[in-house]
Symmetry: C2
DNA sequence: TTGTAGGCGTTATCAT
DNA sequence: ATGATAACGCCTACAA
């Protein structure tokens, strides 16, 4: 059969145009089946907020990644299918895999084993988790270097020696990398290097507050607290204010990520800028490159981070919050 | 043909399971074609940031909507396809339409005409734009009521009479609705009702700052500035601080949306909470209901907003920024 | 039970 | 050129 009804000459073109004007759109599944390409890339991420019940959610990071991915995808003419894997989202993940030309998998959204398995049926790039030994493409940020630089800053320009590092979830690669950077700087300064973070703040504001309280209650508080991300730092700041401890004169504080909020808190937060948007964008670009060239060499892309010095570390910048 | 190779008995089940374990996943397009259902819902939104070049981006609203949509969709076992329509994203939009079982279209992401056209080939629910006269399902927030209540608060408890309303983009339904609420309250108080906003801040922080500067330069500044959203208010706050005007004693300020930032700025921002997450979630729910029951009655869902009184309006709450 | 034709809507190929 | 036809991979019938 041909185009449905019984047309004949190049009237066809006109008919097609007319159909389009009337709201007809070609069937995606049908094209996908025939063309063997859907024009969709998937993005899998963990929905951290649905794990810990009432914790204030802070999805800034993922949101930015999503936006970056969407942009890069749109630029290439493909759409983005997103799905959060809440713990055991295997079923949904499976269906996503079947729908896409390629998949970006954020760290901790899927068991490594599943990633490997799925990677047999669709190209996968792993975001923010250098799955050591894996053959998959990787895109991430220089968490270690960023935290090393930040720690060195606190150590050398502010001369603090009693630092505490507050980590995120123990299994988070980002948290681990940042802690590694912290340790490198401590070691380089000849200070004693802790075996693990002083506390686990779960990367949430509430968790950071809890960690800060614990630190305050622990006899001899540190001179500076380096939080594994901005949100924990914000939580810590609140606790310090409530406790009457001035920042940075009493205790210095730093974060990581450079979320919008960090410019606005009091005092403004010294942190490390992570190119969240770019992470998503580059991941998609790498993915599309692999889709186009399946046999190409494995890519491993580490995006630079950047120290952002504000007030909470003890520096006095001129750069206020100008509008 | 049957399952590819020539299997025979109920060995099939085992084979299927084995295949799954090895990374085989059923083809989405093939299932979609056979089932006439893809298990995907689409979400179209305008990417406001790509319009105005370098304006600080503030995608909080959309991000929350996306997250809400994703959750509701996941709960129903479907994935979400997202695509920003940057000005003339018609082509991508078309392909999205072909891929999904239903579509959520955010206000201003598509010309109304296109929405109508596409709605012939796929169920559509319109988010945050009550396309007057349209037969499409609608989900939105009570912007008008929220702003009316907020304005009444400023008017009656703080006794200000010279208020300025700073709007967002003139064509934004949200902005229009909020302004309408402002006018209602002004009229109810017997005050003169402006024909249009005192300024257009484009819903961005930079735009709000610009608007605030203009207001300050305009001879007799108002006693209170009601910004159409929080981000503009934050921009306004910065300008006031830089200008040495105290808030709220010199000029009171309010926002709208209740983004995370509003709790953290100094002074904390009085605003109206909009259920951003729920908007996305309900939109998806309504959509899925229609997909399941195409002939059902048109739904029009208006979610409540809620006045959030903090410090910037002149109130002195006890509730600090406790952690 | 277990194997075998269609059919879904589009693209690609092969005759004419 | 133009028009018919075979995949594409899965599902639902129906037949054996």
């Amino acid at each position: 059969m041909h185009d449905g009804t019984g047309f004949s000459p190049p009237t066809r073109k006109r008919v097609l145009a007319a159909a389009a004007a009337m709201g007809w759109v070609p069937s995606g599944p049908a094209r996908g089946l025939a063309f063997r390409k859907t024009g969709i890339v998937g993005l899998l991420f963990p929905d951290l907020a649905s794990f810990s019940e009432s914790e204030e959610e802070s999805p800034l990071f993922i949101d930015q990644v999503i936006r970056g991915a969407e942009r890069a995808a749109a630029a290439a003419g493909v759409a983005v299918l997103i799905a959060a894997t809440r713990g055991a989202g295997r079923k949904l993940a499976r269906s996503v895999v079947g729908q896409v030309d390629g998949l970006v998998v954020l760290a901790r959204s899927l068991p490594v084993k599943d990633i490997q398995i799925f990677s047999r049926s669709v190209p996968i790039v792993v975001l923010a988790d250098r799955l050591n030994g894996s053959r998959l493409d990787y895109v991430g940020a220089d968490n270690r270097g960023g935290m090393r630089e930040l720690t060195a800053h606190v150590l050398t320009v502010h001369r603090f020696t009693r630092l505490a590092f507050v980590g995120g979830p123990a299994r988070s690669p980002d948290s681990q990398e940042r802690f590694a950077g912290f340790r490198m700087a401590m070691r380089a300064a000849g200070l004693s290097v802790p075996g693990r973070p002083a506390a686990d703040g779960g990367f949430t504001e509430a968790g950071g507050a809890r960690a800060m309280r614990a630190l305050l209650a622990s006899g001899k508080p540190p001179q500076a607290v380096l939080f594994g991300n901005d949100e924990m730092a914000v939580g810590g700041l609140s606790v310090l204010r409530a406790a009457g401890v001035r920042v940075p004169s009493g205790i210095a504080v730093t974060g990581f990520d450079d979320i919008a909020l960090s410019r606005h808190v009091q005092p403004s937060l010294t942190t490390v800028k992570q190119p969240m948007r770019d992470l998503g964008g580059q991941a998609v670009r790498v993915l599309l490159a692999r889709v186009a060239e399946p046999a190409s060499r494995r890519q491993s892309l580490v995006l630079p981070t950047q120290l952002v010095v504000r007030r909470s570390c003890g520096c006095t910048t001129r750069r206020g919050m100008a509008a």
